[in-house]
Protein backbone atom coordinates (compact mmCIF):
# COMPACT_ATOMS: atom_id res chain seq x y z
CA UNK A 1 0.00 0.00 0.00
CA UNK A 2 1.29 3.43 -0.94
CA UNK A 3 0.18 6.24 1.32
CA UNK A 4 0.82 9.93 0.70
CA UNK A 5 0.67 12.28 3.68
CA UNK A 6 0.35 15.99 2.92
CA UNK A 7 2.34 17.86 5.54
CA UNK A 8 2.63 21.62 5.90
CA UNK A 9 5.54 23.50 7.42
CA UNK A 10 3.98 26.05 9.80
CA UNK A 11 5.05 28.41 12.58
CA UNK A 12 5.00 26.78 16.01
CA UNK A 13 1.73 27.77 17.65
CA UNK A 14 3.65 29.00 20.68
CA UNK A 15 5.70 31.39 18.51
CA UNK A 16 5.04 35.11 18.57
CA UNK A 17 4.20 36.24 15.07
CA UNK A 18 5.97 39.48 14.15
CA UNK A 19 4.16 41.10 11.27
CA UNK A 20 6.11 42.73 8.45
CA UNK A 21 4.66 45.15 5.91
CA UNK A 22 0.97 44.96 5.08
CA UNK A 23 0.59 41.25 4.63
CA UNK A 24 3.78 39.47 5.62
CA UNK A 25 5.51 38.18 8.74
CA UNK A 26 9.08 37.62 9.88
CA UNK A 27 9.72 33.94 9.40
CA UNK A 28 13.47 33.78 9.89
CA UNK A 29 13.54 34.00 13.67
CA UNK A 30 10.65 31.79 14.69
CA UNK A 31 10.46 28.05 15.03
CA UNK A 32 8.57 26.10 12.36
CA UNK A 33 7.05 22.67 12.97
CA UNK A 34 4.98 20.11 11.06
CA UNK A 35 1.36 21.26 11.18
CA UNK A 36 0.10 19.61 14.42
CA UNK A 37 -2.93 17.94 12.75
CA UNK A 38 -0.74 16.47 10.01
CA UNK A 39 1.22 14.56 12.64
CA UNK A 40 -1.81 12.39 13.31
CA UNK A 41 -1.83 11.59 9.58
CA UNK A 42 1.87 10.66 9.58
CA UNK A 43 1.38 8.40 12.59
CA UNK A 44 -1.67 6.71 11.06
CA UNK A 45 0.07 6.14 7.71
CA UNK A 46 3.24 4.79 9.29
CA UNK A 47 1.39 2.38 11.57
CA UNK A 48 -0.82 1.16 8.70
CA UNK A 49 2.25 0.44 6.58
CA UNK A 50 3.97 -1.26 9.51
CA UNK A 51 1.03 -3.65 9.66
CA UNK A 52 0.17 -4.07 5.98
CA UNK A 53 3.40 -3.26 4.16
CA UNK A 54 4.02 -0.53 1.61
CA UNK A 55 5.51 2.93 1.77
CA UNK A 56 4.70 6.34 3.19
CA UNK A 57 5.51 9.37 1.04
CA UNK A 58 5.38 12.86 2.51
CA UNK A 59 4.24 15.56 0.09
CA UNK A 60 4.87 19.15 1.10
CA UNK A 61 4.21 22.42 -0.66
CA UNK A 62 6.40 25.01 0.99
CA UNK A 63 9.55 27.06 1.12
CA UNK A 64 12.96 25.38 0.87
CA UNK A 65 13.19 25.58 4.69
CA UNK A 66 10.34 23.05 4.93
CA UNK A 67 13.03 20.37 4.73
CA UNK A 68 13.21 20.39 8.56
CA UNK A 69 9.52 19.51 8.77
CA UNK A 70 10.00 16.76 6.19
CA UNK A 71 12.94 15.28 8.11
CA UNK A 72 10.76 15.32 11.22
CA UNK A 73 8.07 13.35 9.38
CA UNK A 74 10.71 10.92 8.12
CA UNK A 75 12.04 10.34 11.60
CA UNK A 76 8.52 9.23 12.52
CA UNK A 77 8.89 6.52 9.87
CA UNK A 78 7.92 7.98 6.49
CA UNK A 79 10.06 6.49 3.71
CA UNK A 80 10.60 9.33 1.26
CA UNK A 81 9.30 12.77 0.40
CA UNK A 82 8.45 15.25 -2.29
CA UNK A 83 8.96 18.96 -1.66
CA UNK A 84 7.19 21.29 -4.05
CA UNK A 85 8.94 24.59 -3.61
CA UNK A 86 7.22 27.97 -3.39
CA UNK A 87 8.43 31.40 -2.37
CA UNK A 88 5.61 32.30 -0.04
CA UNK A 89 4.06 30.77 3.07
CA UNK A 90 0.67 31.69 1.68
CA UNK A 91 -0.46 29.92 -1.46
CA UNK A 92 -4.06 29.85 -2.59
CA UNK A 93 -5.70 26.55 -1.50
CA UNK A 94 -6.76 25.69 -5.08
CA UNK A 95 -3.19 26.04 -6.29
CA UNK A 96 -1.83 24.00 -3.36
CA UNK A 97 -4.27 21.22 -4.22
CA UNK A 98 -3.28 21.36 -7.88
CA UNK A 99 0.39 21.18 -6.95
CA UNK A 100 -0.18 18.18 -4.69
CA UNK A 101 -2.12 16.40 -7.40
CA UNK A 102 0.47 17.10 -10.09
CA UNK A 103 3.24 15.75 -7.86
CA UNK A 104 1.25 12.62 -7.03
CA UNK A 105 0.43 12.09 -10.71
CA UNK A 106 4.14 12.13 -11.48
CA UNK A 107 5.11 9.95 -8.55
CA UNK A 108 2.40 7.33 -9.03
CA UNK A 109 -1.08 7.28 -7.54
CA UNK A 110 -1.40 6.47 -3.84
CA UNK A 111 -3.91 4.07 -2.31
CA UNK A 112 -4.65 6.58 0.41
CA UNK A 113 -3.98 10.22 1.12
CA UNK A 114 -3.85 11.67 4.62
CA UNK A 115 -3.97 15.37 5.48
CA UNK A 116 -4.60 17.25 8.70
CA UNK A 117 -8.12 18.61 9.21
CA UNK A 118 -6.69 22.05 8.49
CA UNK A 119 -3.50 24.02 8.87
CA UNK A 120 -2.92 26.19 11.90
CA UNK A 121 -1.45 29.11 9.94
CA UNK A 122 -4.04 29.96 7.29
CA UNK A 123 -6.89 27.96 8.88
CA UNK A 124 -8.51 27.57 5.48
CA UNK A 125 -9.78 23.97 5.85
CA UNK A 126 -10.29 23.08 2.19
CA UNK A 127 -7.14 21.87 0.37
CA UNK A 128 -7.92 18.21 1.06
CA UNK A 129 -11.41 18.57 -0.44
CA UNK A 130 -10.04 20.13 -3.61
CA UNK A 131 -7.39 17.44 -3.86
CA UNK A 132 -9.98 14.68 -3.43
CA UNK A 133 -12.20 16.26 -6.06
CA UNK A 134 -9.36 16.49 -8.58
CA UNK A 135 -8.77 12.73 -8.22
CA UNK A 136 -12.51 12.06 -7.90
CA UNK A 137 -11.74 10.26 -4.64
CA UNK A 138 -14.03 10.11 -1.60
CA UNK A 139 -13.11 12.46 1.25
CA UNK A 140 -13.99 12.65 4.91
CA UNK A 141 -12.52 15.38 7.09
CA UNK A 142 -12.06 15.79 10.86
CA UNK A 143 -11.69 12.05 11.33
CA UNK A 144 -10.94 10.85 14.85
CA UNK A 145 -11.41 7.07 14.41
CA UNK A 146 -10.43 5.04 11.35
CA UNK A 147 -10.46 1.38 10.32
CA UNK A 148 -9.05 0.11 7.03
CA UNK A 149 -10.26 -3.31 5.99
CA UNK A 150 -10.30 -5.16 2.65
CA UNK A 151 -10.18 -2.10 0.43
CA UNK A 152 -12.64 -0.13 2.55
CA UNK A 153 -12.18 2.71 5.01
CA UNK A 154 -14.59 3.31 7.86
CA UNK A 155 -14.16 6.76 9.38
CA UNK A 156 -15.81 8.51 12.29
CA UNK A 157 -16.20 12.26 12.44
CA UNK A 158 -17.79 14.52 15.00
CA UNK A 159 -20.66 16.62 13.69
CA UNK A 160 -21.23 18.79 16.76
CA UNK A 161 -22.38 18.40 20.34
CA UNK A 162 -20.47 15.12 20.63
CA UNK A 163 -22.64 13.52 17.92
CA UNK A 164 -20.69 11.36 15.46
CA UNK A 165 -21.13 10.11 11.92
CA UNK A 166 -19.72 6.79 10.77
CA UNK A 167 -18.85 6.95 7.08
CA UNK A 168 -17.81 4.17 4.75
CA UNK A 169 -15.85 4.54 1.52
CA UNK A 170 -13.63 2.55 -0.84
CA UNK A 171 -9.91 3.13 -1.31
CA UNK A 172 -8.28 5.15 -2.73
CA UNK A 173 -9.60 7.96 -0.55
CA UNK A 174 -8.58 11.16 1.22
CA UNK A 175 -8.81 11.33 5.00
CA UNK A 176 -8.39 14.61 6.91
CA UNK A 177 -7.45 13.76 10.48
CA UNK A 178 -7.73 15.35 13.88
CA UNK A 179 -6.82 14.76 17.49
CA UNK A 180 -8.08 11.56 19.03
CA UNK A 181 -7.06 9.36 16.08
CA UNK A 182 -3.78 8.23 17.64
CA UNK A 183 -0.81 9.44 19.68
CA UNK A 184 1.97 10.55 17.32
CA UNK A 185 5.23 8.85 18.27
CA UNK A 186 8.36 10.60 19.50
CA UNK A 187 11.19 9.56 17.19
CA UNK A 188 14.24 7.87 18.74
CA UNK A 189 17.75 9.10 18.13
CA UNK A 190 18.54 6.38 15.57
CA UNK A 191 15.31 7.20 13.66
CA UNK A 192 16.39 10.83 13.45
CA UNK A 193 19.79 9.75 12.10
CA UNK A 194 18.19 7.36 9.60
CA UNK A 195 15.82 10.08 8.41
CA UNK A 196 18.77 12.23 7.32
CA UNK A 197 19.61 9.71 4.58
CA UNK A 198 16.11 9.34 3.17
CA UNK A 199 15.27 10.68 -0.29
CA UNK A 200 13.63 14.09 -0.77
CA UNK A 201 12.66 14.83 -4.34
CA UNK A 202 12.40 18.55 -5.00
CA UNK A 203 10.19 20.15 -7.61
CA UNK A 204 9.25 23.71 -8.44
CA UNK A 205 5.69 24.90 -8.64
CA UNK A 206 6.35 26.26 -12.12
CA UNK A 207 7.69 22.87 -13.23
CA UNK A 208 4.29 21.46 -12.38
CA UNK A 209 2.65 24.08 -14.56
CA UNK A 210 1.33 26.18 -11.72
CA UNK A 211 1.32 29.92 -11.95
CA UNK A 212 1.10 31.62 -8.56
CA UNK A 213 -0.55 34.67 -10.08
CA UNK A 214 -3.66 32.59 -10.80
CA UNK A 215 -4.59 32.48 -7.12
CA UNK A 216 -8.12 33.68 -6.48
CA UNK A 217 -7.64 34.78 -2.89
CA UNK A 218 -5.15 37.40 -1.83
CA UNK A 219 -4.15 38.45 1.65
CA UNK A 220 -4.33 42.23 1.64
CA UNK A 221 -3.63 42.80 5.28
CA UNK A 222 -2.48 40.95 8.36
CA UNK A 223 -2.99 42.55 11.74
CA UNK A 224 -2.67 41.36 15.30
CA UNK A 225 -5.86 40.32 17.07
CA UNK A 226 -6.20 43.00 19.74
CA UNK A 227 -5.00 41.69 23.09
CA UNK A 228 -6.95 42.41 26.21
CA UNK A 229 -4.95 44.65 28.46
CA UNK A 230 -5.61 42.70 31.64
CA UNK A 231 -8.66 41.79 33.65
CA UNK A 232 -10.70 43.94 35.95
CA UNK A 233 -10.20 41.99 39.15
CA UNK A 234 -13.26 41.74 41.33
CA UNK A 235 -12.82 42.53 44.99
CA UNK A 236 -14.23 41.73 48.38
CA UNK A 237 -15.48 38.44 49.78
CA UNK A 238 -16.19 35.59 47.38
CA UNK A 239 -19.87 36.39 47.81
CA UNK A 240 -19.33 40.06 46.93
CA UNK A 241 -17.20 39.16 43.91
CA UNK A 242 -19.76 36.77 42.49
CA UNK A 243 -22.63 39.20 43.09
CA UNK A 244 -20.70 41.96 41.33
CA UNK A 245 -19.81 39.65 38.43
CA UNK A 246 -23.45 38.71 37.84
CA UNK A 247 -24.41 42.40 37.93
CA UNK A 248 -21.68 43.33 35.42
CA UNK A 249 -22.59 40.52 33.04
CA UNK A 250 -26.26 41.47 33.14
CA UNK A 251 -26.18 45.25 33.32
CA UNK A 252 -22.88 46.44 31.84
CA UNK A 253 -21.98 43.77 29.34
CA UNK A 254 -25.56 42.61 28.68
CA UNK A 255 -24.43 39.09 27.88
CA UNK A 256 -26.83 37.34 30.26
Amino acid sequence: MKICVCVKHVPDTAATIKLAGDNGFEDSEIKFVPNPYDEYGIEEAVSLVEKQGGEVVIVTVGKATAVTTIRGAMSMGAHRAILIKTDSQFLDASLTARALKAAMDQDGLPDMIFTGKGSVDTESFQTQYRLAKSFNMPIVNEVSTLTIDSGKAIAEREIGGGEKQVIEMSLPCVIGVTKGLNEPRYPKFQDIMKAKKKEIREMDLSELGIDVSQGKTMIEKLEPVPERSGATMLEGSVDDQVTELVRILKEDEKVL
Binding site: E123, S124, R130, M137, I139, G160, K179
Partner: protein, 310 residues
Protein backbone atom coordinates in the same frame (compact mmCIF):
# COMPACT_ATOMS: atom_id res chain seq x y z
CA UNK B 1 -27.80 44.37 -4.39
CA UNK B 2 -26.07 41.09 -4.95
CA UNK B 3 -28.05 37.89 -5.12
CA UNK B 4 -26.94 36.11 -1.97
CA UNK B 5 -27.72 32.56 -0.93
CA UNK B 6 -27.58 31.64 2.75
CA UNK B 7 -27.44 28.01 3.79
CA UNK B 8 -29.84 27.76 6.72
CA UNK B 9 -29.31 25.29 9.56
CA UNK B 10 -32.40 24.06 11.34
CA UNK B 11 -32.72 22.15 14.58
CA UNK B 12 -36.00 20.89 16.04
CA UNK B 13 -37.94 22.87 13.42
CA UNK B 14 -36.28 26.11 14.51
CA UNK B 15 -33.72 28.21 12.63
CA UNK B 16 -30.44 28.25 14.54
CA UNK B 17 -29.48 31.69 15.88
CA UNK B 18 -26.12 31.28 14.18
CA UNK B 19 -27.90 31.12 10.80
CA UNK B 20 -29.79 34.34 11.63
CA UNK B 21 -26.40 35.97 12.26
CA UNK B 22 -25.23 34.82 8.84
CA UNK B 23 -28.30 36.43 7.27
CA UNK B 24 -27.43 39.66 9.07
CA UNK B 25 -23.94 39.45 7.52
CA UNK B 26 -25.69 39.79 4.16
CA UNK B 27 -27.93 42.68 5.21
CA UNK B 28 -28.82 44.92 2.28
CA UNK B 29 -28.43 42.14 -0.31
CA UNK B 30 -31.15 40.18 -2.05
CA UNK B 31 -31.29 37.22 0.31
CA UNK B 32 -32.26 33.69 -0.70
CA UNK B 33 -32.51 31.47 2.40
CA UNK B 34 -31.68 27.92 1.34
CA UNK B 35 -33.24 25.05 3.25
CA UNK B 36 -31.76 21.67 2.31
CA UNK B 37 -34.03 18.64 2.40
CA UNK B 38 -36.19 19.88 5.28
CA UNK B 39 -39.57 21.51 5.56
CA UNK B 40 -39.02 25.19 4.76
CA UNK B 41 -42.63 26.21 5.42
CA UNK B 42 -42.30 25.92 9.21
CA UNK B 43 -39.38 28.34 9.27
CA UNK B 44 -40.59 30.71 6.55
CA UNK B 45 -41.80 33.45 8.89
CA UNK B 46 -38.61 33.52 10.89
CA UNK B 47 -36.47 33.69 7.75
CA UNK B 48 -38.58 36.49 6.30
CA UNK B 49 -38.30 38.38 9.60
CA UNK B 50 -34.51 38.31 9.26
CA UNK B 51 -34.42 39.54 5.70
CA UNK B 52 -34.98 36.61 3.32
CA UNK B 53 -37.03 37.76 0.33
CA UNK B 54 -36.91 34.21 -1.06
CA UNK B 55 -37.06 31.03 0.95
CA UNK B 56 -35.93 28.13 -1.19
CA UNK B 57 -36.78 24.60 -0.25
CA UNK B 58 -34.18 22.45 -1.99
CA UNK B 59 -34.95 18.80 -2.63
CA UNK B 60 -33.65 16.13 -5.00
CA UNK B 61 -34.97 12.81 -6.19
CA UNK B 62 -32.73 11.03 -3.66
CA UNK B 63 -32.69 11.53 0.11
CA UNK B 64 -30.51 14.60 0.63
CA UNK B 65 -29.60 13.71 4.20
CA UNK B 66 -27.96 10.49 3.03
CA UNK B 67 -24.77 12.07 1.74
CA UNK B 68 -22.85 15.35 2.06
CA UNK B 69 -21.76 14.88 -1.57
CA UNK B 70 -25.39 14.89 -2.65
CA UNK B 71 -26.10 17.95 -0.48
CA UNK B 72 -23.18 19.90 -1.89
CA UNK B 73 -24.23 19.00 -5.43
CA UNK B 74 -27.73 20.24 -4.72
CA UNK B 75 -26.24 23.49 -3.40
CA UNK B 76 -24.08 23.81 -6.50
CA UNK B 77 -27.19 23.33 -8.64
CA UNK B 78 -28.92 26.12 -6.69
CA UNK B 79 -25.96 28.45 -7.27
CA UNK B 80 -26.33 27.89 -11.01
CA UNK B 81 -30.14 28.06 -11.00
CA UNK B 82 -30.31 31.41 -9.18
CA UNK B 83 -26.99 32.91 -10.31
CA UNK B 84 -25.80 33.67 -6.80
CA UNK B 85 -22.91 36.07 -6.55
CA UNK B 86 -22.39 35.11 -2.92
CA UNK B 87 -23.17 32.05 -0.83
CA UNK B 88 -22.75 32.16 2.94
CA UNK B 89 -23.11 29.53 5.64
CA UNK B 90 -22.19 28.86 9.25
CA UNK B 91 -18.72 27.55 10.10
CA UNK B 92 -20.30 24.64 11.97
CA UNK B 93 -19.16 21.05 11.50
CA UNK B 94 -21.78 20.62 8.77
CA UNK B 95 -21.27 24.04 7.16
CA UNK B 96 -17.49 23.73 6.98
CA UNK B 97 -17.78 20.31 5.34
CA UNK B 98 -20.49 21.24 2.82
CA UNK B 99 -18.86 24.48 1.76
CA UNK B 100 -15.49 22.82 1.17
CA UNK B 101 -17.19 20.16 -0.98
CA UNK B 102 -19.14 22.87 -2.81
CA UNK B 103 -16.03 24.99 -3.45
CA UNK B 104 -14.29 21.95 -4.95
CA UNK B 105 -17.28 21.20 -7.21
CA UNK B 106 -17.61 24.80 -8.41
CA UNK B 107 -13.83 25.34 -8.46
CA UNK B 108 -14.40 28.67 -6.74
CA UNK B 109 -12.48 30.27 -3.87
CA UNK B 110 -13.75 29.69 -0.34
CA UNK B 111 -12.93 31.49 2.87
CA UNK B 112 -13.68 29.53 6.03
CA UNK B 113 -14.59 30.85 9.44
CA UNK B 114 -14.89 34.56 8.60
CA UNK B 115 -15.69 37.09 11.31
CA UNK B 116 -16.64 39.86 8.87
CA UNK B 117 -17.76 39.96 5.24
CA UNK B 118 -17.95 42.88 2.84
CA UNK B 119 -20.00 41.50 -0.01
CA UNK B 120 -19.79 44.57 -2.24
CA UNK B 121 -15.99 44.68 -2.15
CA UNK B 122 -15.54 40.89 -1.94
CA UNK B 123 -13.38 41.31 1.12
CA UNK B 124 -13.47 39.17 4.24
CA UNK B 125 -11.74 39.08 7.59
CA UNK B 126 -10.72 35.89 9.29
CA UNK B 127 -8.40 34.53 11.91
CA UNK B 128 -4.90 33.38 10.94
CA UNK B 129 -2.08 31.81 12.95
CA UNK B 130 -4.36 30.11 15.48
CA UNK B 131 -6.15 33.25 16.47
CA UNK B 132 -3.06 35.46 16.76
CA UNK B 133 -3.77 37.60 13.71
CA UNK B 134 -6.67 38.69 11.55
CA UNK B 135 -6.23 38.50 7.80
CA UNK B 136 -8.20 40.58 5.34
CA UNK B 137 -8.60 38.66 2.12
CA UNK B 138 -9.68 39.89 -1.27
CA UNK B 139 -11.52 37.17 -3.15
CA UNK B 140 -11.62 37.11 -6.95
CA UNK B 141 -14.02 34.38 -7.92
CA UNK B 142 -17.26 34.55 -9.83
CA UNK B 143 -19.02 33.37 -6.65
CA UNK B 144 -17.98 34.46 -3.17
CA UNK B 145 -18.16 31.42 -0.84
CA UNK B 146 -17.74 31.99 2.89
CA UNK B 147 -18.55 30.31 6.15
CA UNK B 148 -19.05 32.63 9.10
CA UNK B 149 -17.79 31.97 12.63
CA UNK B 150 -20.81 31.27 14.86
CA UNK B 151 -21.88 34.18 17.10
CA UNK B 152 -19.46 36.60 15.43
CA UNK B 153 -22.35 38.55 13.92
CA UNK B 154 -25.29 39.49 16.13
CA UNK B 155 -28.63 38.73 14.39
CA UNK B 156 -30.68 41.84 13.58
CA UNK B 157 -34.26 41.55 12.32
CA UNK B 158 -34.94 43.06 8.87
CA UNK B 159 -38.51 42.02 8.00
CA UNK B 160 -39.49 41.39 4.39
CA UNK B 161 -42.34 39.57 2.70
CA UNK B 162 -40.70 36.23 2.11
CA UNK B 163 -41.73 34.10 -0.83
CA UNK B 164 -41.52 30.33 -0.59
CA UNK B 165 -40.01 28.59 -3.64
CA UNK B 166 -39.51 24.91 -4.35
CA UNK B 167 -36.35 23.88 -6.16
CA UNK B 168 -35.80 20.29 -7.19
CA UNK B 169 -32.11 19.84 -7.93
CA UNK B 170 -31.36 17.47 -10.77
CA UNK B 171 -28.44 15.70 -9.10
CA UNK B 172 -27.41 12.17 -8.24
CA UNK B 173 -25.17 10.87 -5.48
CA UNK B 174 -21.75 10.01 -6.94
CA UNK B 175 -21.78 7.16 -4.43
CA UNK B 176 -18.29 7.81 -3.12
CA UNK B 177 -19.15 7.87 0.57
CA UNK B 178 -21.94 6.36 2.60
CA UNK B 179 -23.09 7.43 6.06
CA UNK B 180 -23.64 4.10 7.79
CA UNK B 181 -24.50 5.33 11.27
CA UNK B 182 -25.04 8.45 13.35
CA UNK B 183 -23.99 8.07 16.98
CA UNK B 184 -25.92 10.40 19.25
CA UNK B 185 -24.18 12.04 22.16
CA UNK B 186 -25.44 11.08 25.62
CA UNK B 187 -27.74 13.99 26.41
CA UNK B 188 -29.10 16.56 23.98
CA UNK B 189 -26.01 18.68 24.45
CA UNK B 190 -25.60 22.17 23.12
CA UNK B 191 -22.92 22.27 20.44
CA UNK B 192 -19.83 24.05 21.75
CA UNK B 193 -19.01 25.92 18.56
CA UNK B 194 -22.47 27.41 18.36
CA UNK B 195 -23.24 28.02 22.03
CA UNK B 196 -23.80 31.68 22.99
CA UNK B 197 -22.26 31.08 26.44
CA UNK B 198 -19.54 28.60 27.42
CA UNK B 199 -18.24 27.57 30.81
CA UNK B 200 -14.97 25.65 30.70
CA UNK B 201 -13.23 23.52 33.29
CA UNK B 202 -9.45 23.14 33.15
CA UNK B 203 -7.08 20.74 34.87
CA UNK B 204 -8.28 22.17 38.20
CA UNK B 205 -11.55 20.24 37.83
CA UNK B 206 -9.59 17.18 39.04
CA UNK B 207 -12.16 14.49 38.17
CA UNK B 208 -14.71 13.73 35.44
CA UNK B 209 -17.60 13.77 37.93
CA UNK B 210 -16.79 17.34 38.94
CA UNK B 211 -18.01 18.55 35.54
CA UNK B 212 -21.47 18.11 37.07
CA UNK B 213 -20.78 21.33 38.99
CA UNK B 214 -20.18 23.14 35.67
CA UNK B 215 -23.19 21.50 34.04
CA UNK B 216 -25.44 22.79 36.82
CA UNK B 217 -24.11 26.28 36.26
CA UNK B 218 -24.36 25.86 32.46
CA UNK B 219 -28.00 24.97 32.75
CA UNK B 220 -28.75 28.32 34.39
CA UNK B 221 -26.58 30.16 31.89
CA UNK B 222 -27.96 28.41 28.80
CA UNK B 223 -24.35 27.48 28.23
CA UNK B 224 -22.34 24.60 26.82
CA UNK B 225 -19.54 23.07 28.89
CA UNK B 226 -15.96 23.03 27.56
CA UNK B 227 -12.63 21.62 28.71
CA UNK B 228 -8.95 22.47 28.35
CA UNK B 229 -6.57 20.02 26.76
CA UNK B 230 -5.01 19.23 30.12
CA UNK B 231 -8.45 18.17 31.37
CA UNK B 232 -9.07 16.09 28.22
CA UNK B 233 -5.63 14.46 28.39
CA UNK B 234 -6.20 13.61 32.04
CA UNK B 235 -9.38 11.79 31.01
CA UNK B 236 -11.80 14.15 32.78
CA UNK B 237 -13.63 15.10 29.57
CA UNK B 238 -14.00 13.77 26.00
CA UNK B 239 -12.12 15.44 23.15
CA UNK B 240 -15.40 16.74 21.73
CA UNK B 241 -15.41 19.20 24.67
CA UNK B 242 -11.89 20.52 24.09
CA UNK B 243 -11.51 24.20 23.31
CA UNK B 244 -8.33 25.43 21.70
CA UNK B 245 -5.96 25.01 18.87
CA UNK B 246 -6.33 21.22 18.71
CA UNK B 247 -9.95 21.34 19.81
CA UNK B 248 -12.81 23.61 18.88
CA UNK B 249 -12.71 27.26 17.95
CA UNK B 250 -15.48 29.09 19.74
CA UNK B 251 -16.61 32.68 19.87
CA UNK B 252 -19.43 32.98 22.37
CA UNK B 253 -20.80 36.19 23.90
CA UNK B 254 -19.55 35.00 27.28
CA UNK B 255 -16.73 32.58 28.08
CA UNK B 256 -16.12 31.58 31.69
CA UNK B 257 -12.82 29.76 32.27
CA UNK B 258 -12.65 27.85 35.55
CA UNK B 259 -9.22 26.65 36.63
CA UNK B 260 -7.62 27.27 33.25
CA UNK B 261 -4.14 28.82 33.22
CA UNK B 262 -4.48 30.63 29.88
CA UNK B 263 -2.04 28.91 27.50
CA UNK B 264 -1.74 30.41 24.00
CA UNK B 265 -3.08 27.17 22.53
CA UNK B 266 -6.19 27.46 24.68
CA UNK B 267 -6.63 31.11 23.73
CA UNK B 268 -6.26 30.19 20.06
CA UNK B 269 -9.70 28.63 20.36
CA UNK B 270 -11.61 31.27 22.35
CA UNK B 271 -9.84 34.56 22.01
CA UNK B 272 -12.54 36.20 19.92
CA UNK B 273 -15.19 35.61 22.60
CA UNK B 274 -16.94 38.88 23.46
CA UNK B 275 -16.46 38.74 27.23
CA UNK B 276 -13.99 36.42 28.96
CA UNK B 277 -14.19 35.73 32.69
CA UNK B 278 -11.54 33.75 34.57
CA UNK B 279 -11.80 32.05 37.93
CA UNK B 280 -8.42 30.89 39.23
CA UNK B 281 -6.92 30.45 42.69
CA UNK B 282 -3.55 31.78 41.55
CA UNK B 283 -3.63 35.56 41.37
CA UNK B 284 -0.60 35.45 39.03
CA UNK B 285 -2.16 33.00 36.58
CA UNK B 286 -1.40 34.23 33.01
CA UNK B 287 -5.09 34.14 32.12
CA UNK B 288 -5.75 37.23 34.23
CA UNK B 289 -3.57 39.31 31.95
CA UNK B 290 -5.69 38.47 28.90
CA UNK B 291 -9.28 38.28 30.02
CA UNK B 292 -11.94 40.86 30.90
CA UNK B 293 -12.96 39.99 34.47
CA UNK B 294 -11.15 37.91 37.06
CA UNK B 295 -12.03 36.28 40.32
CA UNK B 296 -9.23 34.90 42.50
CA UNK B 297 -10.64 31.90 44.28
CA UNK B 298 -11.20 28.17 44.41
CA UNK B 299 -13.53 27.06 41.62
CA UNK B 300 -15.21 24.67 44.04
CA UNK B 301 -16.32 27.69 46.13
CA UNK B 302 -16.95 30.21 43.36
CA UNK B 303 -18.85 28.15 40.78
CA UNK B 304 -21.61 26.81 43.10
CA UNK B 305 -22.11 30.34 44.40
CA UNK B 306 -22.37 31.65 40.85
CA UNK B 307 -24.94 28.98 40.00
CA UNK B 308 -26.94 30.05 43.03
CA UNK B 309 -26.90 33.73 42.15
CA UNK B 310 -27.83 33.41 38.49
Amino acid sequence: MAKTGILIEIENNTVKDTSLGVMTAAAGQEIYALVLGQDAAVVKDKLAEYGASHIVSITASGDLSSSPDLQSQALAAAVTEYNFETLLGTASATGRDLFARLAAILDQPLVSDCVQVNIAEKKVRKSHFSGKTFATLKVNGSVLLCTIRPNSIEPVAAPTAGELIEFVADVADPGLIKIVETKKAGADKLDLTEAPVIITGGRAIKAAENYKMLEDCAQKLGAAVGASRAAVDAGYAPHSMQVGQTGKTVSPKLYIACGVSGAVQHFAGMKTSKVIVAINEDKDAPIFSKCDYGIVGDIFDVVPLLTEKL
